[in-house]
Amino acid sequence: MKRVLMMFLVLAMACGCIFANGAKETTTTTAPAAATAARPSWAKGVDEVTGTLTVYTTMEETQQDILLGLWNQIYPKCKVEIVADSVGTLATKIRSDATSGADVVIGGMFAADGTKYHDILQPYTSTLDKEQGFHDPSGYYTFYDVQVMCLVVNPNVLKDLGVTVAGYADLLNPKLKGKIIIADPSASSSGYRQLQTVLATMGDKFDDQKGWDYIKKLMANCYSTNSSKDVYNLVNEGEYAVGLSYESTPAGIIRLGGATMQIVYMKEGNTAMPGGAAIAKGAPNLTAAQAMIDLLASSDFQNKRAELSGRGSNKNCKSSDLPASDTLGLVDLDYNYLSANKDKMLDHWNSLWAEVK
């Protein structure tokens, strides 16, 4: 009996090894069809971009599908490996794991972040930089998205509670206690962006006591999560009534159909900030990384993205049918102030949270 058991163990390990090696062949080719559109002029040659590209991204599924669909059309010889998580987790993983092999970091990094992530990135200016509406003065980031914030609400839950929500002030309604979900600004870039927006619209001056007083009251009604995907997914599922989210993904999901959630733009105002991607320091596949950054900056990608949802940064790209920016009550943000004070604001948030909870 022992010998049979031994043989079984060996067999199982062998099977495992076969699986583990064979798995490398299952690629994420979603649309390897022949390119019906003409190959973009700025794209590198098909044979230039090969191997594997390791992408660390905050993009969620629908946006990944768009990106990969286009990528596999243009560079069918290069396989993309995706690690998707919130920006805080991605940064920690890259910093702690010398073998992470990250080539590009897409999303989660915004104009106001300053030099925060420069220790894991390297500078690169895209070949399409002149088409861009926004440029990174330090030469690290390539922007592809202009991010606007919003509230996601579940109309059924709100109806049950007898509450209407038109903006931040309505969130302090005691009936909403425990029914609001926010992303933790320390872990999630959209959480930090919401923090900026709240401070910009709910205080008289940015980062003043009035703004933080509002935040303290808001915290009492909220639960937090590490992942911005939880915010709109759980509101959609009906687990929460309201979530403080970014605009592009929930708008896209709603457009695809079948969603219960709705988007509400805060009547107090909004902020827009370009967000983008960068090449990781010591990227193993530099050529492919540069190709990916160029793709993100291109109007080809941003148009496709805008068809679903999202505001592009390329001057040539079509605008999506999201509400025009002049209807949102946009407030300007001081990027220098933000990059100098990010740690201070996050600490303030954390200690306030620890006090309230």
């Binding site: 163990l9 798995a23 299952t26 969620e60 794991d97 425990g178 872990a187 639960y223």
Partner: protein
């Protein structure tokens, strides 16, 4: 006559094991300790003071403690009667009951938590049914929900422990008690419980530790009730934790707290030292009348509730999902997407990691058992103590310690299968070495001595005589170790990357990314895998022999 001790096989064995422990266990622990008290190159206890300063932080210890204690109590309340009915009475379908009982513990707790959210969340299936009937206010979130989910996952461990203990009881003791006028319930408590107290305490400690260290369940449904492992995880992965200073400090505190619990348990167990030889094992009786109905009802109800999440997930894996939106109808889209998301690779990794870890653990456990029982010298006791250390380290702590120690050159193995195997081996070794030691103690040394006196070398005597005699005991413990390896998540979530992802971690990542259909697909494949292995395992071992 040797004046010096020769470096014989066992001494060199002991030294090798000590060396392995030193590199993979002691060195990371010291790294963790150093990280917690050194910041910017100078010694400082600021992390510890920060922890105790804010109730948000130190209340997590209380939360974890309260939860673990409640889970322990409820698991005992569920598990002991279940095991009693199962061992003493001939219930209908008892084989199926036991297999289902094993199955319900064979998936990671957070998968159950995720299914319970679908069922009992704010918008869950059962919640809506109950609301239609006018019952509201039941929520799976928070303290109650965590205790509920974890109890259902962990009570089978109590059942397995208690089965072994009850089977070892000499029925003549029970009859003697009855003849002295102590019957029924009284006999149950005064005789049966006292005789099995060491096992009860061991099971209680195990459940407590598992619940305390559980990370996945509180992460998913702990809204408002932050627990220790979740805090460690958040601090480690939160952006402000660029150095792991605070997370390391919390980890050190975690180890101290669990160490104290462990010592308390040891103290309690030492009051119950006795041995028993089961000359007259318990005879199974046929239950009768109302008690029979109640017994069957209890057992089947408990099993039905604990199997519900897994069954529901398998059902959900065939529903049509468009990423996070559930559409009406059925489809295989989840499995297709899962294949794109490394399902194959995860399965392969899971098989490789689990079997290699199991092999390492079994070999090490057998050697350690021999050294401790036969060669009780200083080195073997040192090895024994060090090998028990991980017992009190929550998984997240092990993960962080290994990352700190092995992410820089020259030891750069972070991000490989090897580091995950090491983490799992460290975490699960104490259980197997305990059971191997217990088995070893039952083997009389005279058999080996006889072999040696007949000319066999020490190694031959060990491998041809002792190991076969131990094997059945060790192998029956193997399946549960294997299952606990597969469902382990708390250290894996810190150590994994895309290349080393396992099935359980794949499920977690999918839930995190909101692709719930894919998560269900991953979970279902995990269940299938464990069922297959359980079936194969049961072909070789009798159901009764399954033990820890």
């Amino acid at each position: 006559m040797q004046a010096r001790k020769k470096l014989d096989f066992w001494n060199s064995c002991a030294l090798i094991i000590l060396l392995l422990f030193g590199i993979f266990l002691v060195y990371p622990m010291f790294g963790l300790l150093k990280e917690s008290v050194y910041v910017n190159g100078s010694f400082s206890m600021d992390a510890f003071s920060r922890f105790f300063h804010k109730s948000y932080y130190y209340s997590t210890i209380f939360n974890s403690f309260k939860i673990a204690f409640s889970v322990m109590v409820f698991s005992l309340l569920l598990g002991i009667p279940f095991s009693y009915f199962y061992t003493f009475y001939d219930l209908k379908g008892r084989k199926i009951l036991f297999v289902l009982c094993l199955l319900s513990t064979m998936s990671a707790p957070f998968i159950g938590a995720y299914a319970w959210v679908l069922l009992l969340g704010n918008n869950g299936l059962l919640t809506n049914i109950l609301k239609a009937m006018g019952i509201s206010g039941i929520s799976i979130y928070g303290f109650g929900g965590i205790v509920f989910v974890q109890t259902l996952k962990l009570f089978p461990l109590v059942v397995i422990y208690m089965n072994g203990a009850f089977r070892d009881i000499d029925s003549s003791l029970m009859e003697a008690a009855e003849s002295m006028g102590c019957k029924g319930i009284q006999r149950f408590f005064r005789v049966l419980m006292t005789l099995t107290m060491p096992t009860i305490l061991a099971a209680a400690l195990l459940v407590f530790m598992r619940s305390f260290a559980d990370f996945g369940t509180p992460l998913l449904i702990g809204r408002g009730c932050m627990t220790f492992p979740v805090l460690i995880y958040n601090e480690y992965l939160g952006e402000n934790g660029a150095d792991y200073h605070f997370a390391a400090a919390i980890s050190v505190i975690a180890v101290l707290v669990t160490g104290i619990i462990f010592l308390i348990q040891k103290l309690a167990t030492s009051k119950f030292k006795f041995t028993m030889s089961a000359m007259h094992p318990i005879q199974i009786k046929k239950p009768a009348g109302a008690t029979s109905v109640l017994m069957h009802f209890f057992c089947y109800l408990v099993i039905a509730i604990s199997m519900l999440p897994q069954v529901y997930i398998i059902y959900m894996s065939f529903r049509k999902y468009n990423n996070s939106i559930l559409l009406p109808g059925y489809s295989m889209v989840n499995y297709e997407k899962a294949l794109q998301k490394n399902l194959f690779r995860a399965t392969g990794n899971t098989l490789v990691i689990s079997f290699v870890t199991l092999a390492i653990i079994v070999v090490l456990a057998v050697f350690i058992a021999y050294l401790v029982v036969r060669k009780g010298n200083f080195i073997s006791h040192l090895i024994d103590t060090i090998s028990m250390m991980p017992y009190i380290m929550p998984g997240a702590v092990v993960g962080i310690a290994l990352v700190i120690a092995f992410s820089k050159k020259p030891f750069c193995i972070a991000g490989t299968l090897l580091i995950m195997i090491i983490a799992l081996a460290i975490r699960r070794l104490p259980f197997t070495s305990r059971s191997a030691t217990a088995t070893m103690m039952k083997i009389s040394p005279s058999i080996e001595e006889a072999a040696i006196s007949l000319g066999a070398s020490k190694l031959a005597a060990f491998s041809k005589i002792t190991v076969p005699m131990m094997s059945s005991g060790v192998i029956s413990g193997a399946v549960l170790s294997w299952v606990s390896i597969i469902t382990e998540m708390s250290s894996g979530v810190i150590l994994y990357n895309n290349k080393t992802i396992t099935l359980t971690l794949g499920t977690y990542v999918a839930i995190n990314n909101g692709v719930y259909g894919v998560a269900a697909a991953f979970a279902s494949v995990t269940t299938l895998l464990t069922v297959i292995c359980l079936v194969i395992y049961l072909k070789f071992t009798k159901l009764e022999d399954v033990q820890m």
